[in-house]
Symmetry: D2
Subunit: 348 residues, 4 copies
């Protein structure tokens, strides 16, 4: 290993986003994984927690308080929201951070407190945070030392909407987002409603009318729209492991036609390696992106004139979490943006 490789730490390596990140880090030539934390699992080999990682050579899990952060160039934080704000606040300044939790996504600590039910513990650090929807905040990501990696629902909903709102091709209201997620979006939580027997061959909604991702979407879309945004957002649980599917109902501005939306989106994403606008009448499936960092988007006329339906798919653990995190790290570190992320989707 060359001395010039980046030293990487992964906080919370015993969850699904941690594991998925390690899968991609193993394909990245420019770094070495030096530290893995997993509090309840400290002392164990990663193979005891994730047998599929056994063949990959990785350090033993340690407690977060036993990490010497001074030796690290970059830290990925894969822990649940609200648990590491103070840890990240106190890191040495030379360490760059990609935080996969929701902790630094909302600009306003008051809104954070409202949505997450406790006050923010690192308000100053919040000011430094850049929202890491790479394609639209790339220049800011390059310049920051803390990226707040977006959520999986939010990434999938924002990518098709931003260019259309930025160009005022669609109305700011109503925007109805009917979103569907695979079960891995809930993490490795051991809960009755996530048991195989409870999930297979069933479909349900949750967080109807008040899901935590809605304010994040409002904020991000507001960054590009000509005024405030408040979306209708309903998440659903699909009996599949991976994938986010967003069905988005929008209204065209007067004089705008559906092909205008298509054209605008194609233009926006023509040179993007991970965002692909499909030809008219194409129907994306989450299965077409599973295991990859891709997002597919399609545009459809509604049967009612002046209305359109946008479809977008991602893998919630990749473009919706660990893949985008690595993409952001590449940008922060001045590496090629696709490094470690070139493996295509696994199908079937």
């Amino acid at each position: 290993m060359a001395a010039s490789k980046l030293a990487v730490g992964v906080l919370g390596a015993s969850g699904y986003t941690g594991a998925e990140l390690l899968r991609f880090l193993g394909q990245h030539d420019g770094l070495r994984v030096e530290v893995l934390t997993g509090d309840r699992m400290a002392g164990k080999e990663i193979a005891e927690v994730f047998p599929h990682l056994g063949p990959q050579r990785l350090p033993r899990l340690v407690k977060i308080e036993d990490v010497d952060f001074a030796d690290l160039d970059i830290v990925f934080c894969c822990l649940p929201h609200g648990t590491t704000q103070e840890v990240l606040r106190d890191l040495p300044h030379n360490v760059k951070i990609v935080d996969l939790s929701a902790d630094f996504r909302l600009y306003d600590p008051k809104l954070y407190a409202e949505v997450y039910g406790h006050s923010h513990k690192a308000v100053d650090l919040q000011k430094e945070a850049v929202y890491g929807l790479t394609e639209h905040y790339r220049e800011k990501v390059k310049a920051t030392r803390l990226v707040a990696n977006p959520g999986c629902y939010t990434t999938t909903c924002e990518l098709p909407l931003i260019p259309l709102l930025a160009d005022e091709l669609i109305e700011r209201d109503p925007i109805v987002i009917d979103a569907k997620s695979g079960v891995s979006g809930a993490g490795r939580s051991v809960k009755e409603n996530l048991l195989f027997n409870e999930v297979l061959d069933g479909f349900s909604a949750y967080g109807v009318g008040n899901h935590r991702h809605a304010p994040e979407i409002d904020q991000c879309l507001g960054d590009f729209a000509s005024g405030e945004i408040k979306v209708t957002f309903t998440p659903h649980l699909v009996p599949m492991v991976r994938g986010i599917f967003a069905t988005i109902y929008v209204r065209l501005k007067p004089g705008v036609l559906v092909p205008d939306l298509q054209e605008r989106l194609e233009e926006s994403y023509r040179d993007e390696p991970f965002v692909h606008v499909l030809p008219p009448k194409s129907l994306p499936s989450t299965k077409h992106v599973r295991g990859s960092n891709h997002c597919l988007i399609s545009v459809h006329p509604d049967r009612i004139e002046g209305r359109a339906i946008l479809l977008a798919v991602t893998d919630n653990l990749v473009k919706g979490a660990s893949g985008q995190a690595l993409q952001n790290m590449n940008v922060m570190m001045g590496l090629p943006e696709t490094m470690g992320l070139t493996m295509g989707p696994m199908f079937p």
Copy 2:
């Protein structure tokens, strides 16, 4: 078997709705299955087509042209649309019919031709047909000899909307229906996109902006609303076998509140054996109705004032097809409406 038992024929017994109907007919004390047709399978035992029906004593499959309809009291037609209009037209008048196809659902033969791509071949019979959403057309079903059994999507969408439109609690536009179906909704068609490998762990949409069920929904809702209806309707394919889940976005009329919707729906369905309005904040799952004739409905406030979200679930093969067909037969024949349909959902 008593001589007074109804003699039943099932046309198209080799498809999923045929099989599901036979499962319920086997529990019904007031009838005997005398005829099963299955054109490509004629001459075979049903166990060769559906091994799970082996233990049930059933007649051998025959061709439709070999059936002596004069001996039958009731015929269920489980064939694809467009294939049996002439057969049904020419049946003896004493035979009652429940048609599970789309053939007689649309009142206007011109609309039928437009939606299904060929002219209607039994226009006169169409005039006799009653739309069999039992809870709302019960009196007409009692009086007719031909029931057009509603589609699975349509049943699930109409049940929550009819009482609210009838009482003018919600606006007639926009009504955005984001619907999700299990794969059995596509029947036993042998197509690449329905293969296990193509479906598992994936989610997709189809018929976006122009699905055939939309005009059926418009028509039925129009029967109860104060004016014409045109809904936005997007169907999706869920990697599960059974179940329809409808997420319906509506606007309240000025002065109406979400609890008013709840109350109105509870009132409407209080005495219905198969439609259940859940308490506020409940979240129905398709798994709670799988294998049964039940429909569950819940009502939720949107995060945007003046808007509400309705959820409804059914089993597409039961309340969305064969169960409702038997319910309609019971009504037509003056039998107790729940006869043969009392088995609860299979969970897990």
Copy 3:
């Protein structure tokens, strides 16, 4: 309800076998469910624990110590092994019992202690217990007041083997049983390895070389064989909810041919309503019995002469648990054996 209906109690109604039992009890005309217990859930409506049971009218859950057993005719015990031996021991003598746990299956309390890791707490009651593999212990079941309902694996393995061993058509060793189970066999336990994300699209073995069901199989087969039996038994976890599939490798006694096995099994089960021997070359699927009390059996020649392969399938929650329990109750109470159990499999 007629006064003559049996009064039934279900202990442990908040698990899967409890729920499945209630589904079938709801179809049984000769009884009424008077008591449901669920210790952690006491005070709740069953719909809070199992929403799918909401439409069925059932009593509220109570604690086991609050039950007045004197009013009951029959008690089904759906609790984990080792938890209710003392409760059952102290029941009034007029109450009949079907115990679905493993508590009373092994004749020898010493063997029980060895296999289950604690001493038996109702040794006297053990002496009264009858092993409830209905088809082969029917006369004893009729006469007893305590049935030890067999396990799901054991039922599925014993049905094909008993007639062949009884008639000395196959060797007593080796008998290699490679068994596969759906995930509901593990009950509603909230464990990481039973999460949807961990199970879907994976297959694994467990209890290799030492599963608790093996001694139960040895004992039961020994009841019919000409000497002691010790089987090789490997259970596997299939990514499906319901179903047991047993692949059984046996050796023919000298002079015996595969068709002799077929004939013997057909003879044994010709008049049984729930056990079906398929024609030669048939391939049973667990999906052909799902949701029903049926067992399907087929017989196949191995590619090596003198050896045969037996296949058998059941639904672990029905013939492997609650269905057989109700079948045993019917026998104990002198009711028709199929009462409440006539609903066919749910397919697809």
Copy 4:
């Protein structure tokens, strides 16, 4: 692209093994894909056949007769058995071949004719073929120009058995192999029994007593054993997309103990990058290798002395097909054996 990159052709790119091969070829730095054939799909972009490959830059599909083989260094043949023997026979001699079909696996054309039902059409080429179970035929693979890539079942069964038979630690009879496969093992065939609705939540066996892979296993094991081998082999269909699980029942030679098997296997595979012997009591899952070229093996004592149970898992599309094909190509071409194959399993 450097001129020194190998020019690769893939015959039959429209099947699952073709698609999976392309996924891995996209990660390989030493080659470029020049030709894709797909007869019924000729003229189409690969994205029309496999949308998930859209983002990967690949040539358009052509007919096999339109390929100029002279420009290619290596050809992967992903077509069904019996379809390309003559094509491969007539290739220019400088082109190396990895054939993923069963066409060149059996040494004896008479046995081939018996098993596959038609005479072999390239008997001379058969003589050149090397069986490509890389770990055990590596030197021969290096020297040949035609590799017959092993089947998925066979790879998974042979890896654990070869070292034990070679060292005479286990008896040559009985060897009972109870094997389980994901549905992708059947390819992209559009058949009723492979429909989602027919497969989900069901488990079944097929080819009982006479599957085509059994003679291939006999032959390969015979290459290493002290005498002829005839295994008992039963394949099963698991409701999952990917994965082979083999449960293998063996007898120890007198004096041999289970830890001897463990030790011998560890020794054999210590330096292999893709074959991993797990510590005693470990339980491999197909999910631990899904999407990767790994094989995991574990060894267990049976409850009957002198007998052992071996477990082995692979991904049928990777180590059981396209991954091993690329591994063989690397060996044939003198490249690092793991090139393009380093991506770890996808979990969950």
